[in-house]
Symmetry: C2
Subunit: 140 residues, 2 copies
Amino acid sequence: MMGTIMRHLTIGKLAREVGVGVETVRYYERRGLLAEPPRKASGYRQYSADAVRSLRFIRRAKELGFSLAEVAELLALREAPEPACPDVKRQIATKIDDIGERIADLRRIRGALEELHSRCESTGSLGVCPILALLQEDTP
Amino acid sequence: MMGTIMRHLTIGKLAREVGVGVETVRYYERRGLLAEPPRKASGYRQYSADAVRSLRFIRRAKELGFSLAEVAELLALREAPEPACPDVKRQIATKIDDIGERIADLRRIRGALEELHSRCESTGSLGVCPILALLQEDTP
DNA sequence: ATAAACCCCGTACCTAAGAACGGGGTCAAG
DNA sequence: CTTGACCCCGTTCTTAGGTACGGGGTTTAT
């Protein structure tokens, strides 16, 4: 058999692929974030490429400051077929706004860092620190 | 004495102002994130308005997924006057890039949610979930 | 001037998110 | 066919980031 792309990953390969520990993968499964994969007769988990993507998503979202509970919510939205739509729609809108605020905050911090950076570059003179200035804004 | 704006806050007022617990404020002080304020003769901490801003900044950054250690680094940059500039400049650039990636990730997630939202709105039909689609992208 | 509300400090406790362990089965390479 | 690497499960340990407690002084509103 040649040409058969790697269809199934063991938990160890999956974990290494995404850069997490095996324990973490099993933990996510227990938490319901990662679907339970099919098993071999031996009991070994067999993951598909989709699992790699799901796992990557979870990591990304977690690095962005979402708790695992929030990640679970995001993933749950994916499952909402259409029946709960009227209500789910609000939830989605709320999350969109929330993310918009996060982006704005990050931009503000980045802007301050950029100013620091260029200031560092040009003159050696240093007036007010832009990070401090950033702190000045209360509700921009 | 009228007209004197509240110059000094007790720790409790500071905490309430920002929406955290008193213990949290003291914890941040211990961690070196928040400067030790002057004290009254009684030992009570006296905070200025700056403390409110610093504390808000810490909370924002933390909600954005920065660890307290990272927040401390960000705040430390503020202090770097100019001597360590050559080296610090790299650090700043790195952080700027890091934040850029976070923003990109958030945008991608938001985009997916927006599509979910509009899809919910228009037809009841539901093809592939955009969040699932988002997961498909490996290195966009 | 006294009670309620607040502050001090130190220590103990808690939750989230894993990481490590231990005893045992499994798979592939030599 | 055995040996090293890998997997199973359940349980325990750790770390970050707070929270709560307890005993005692301080401020403030009545």
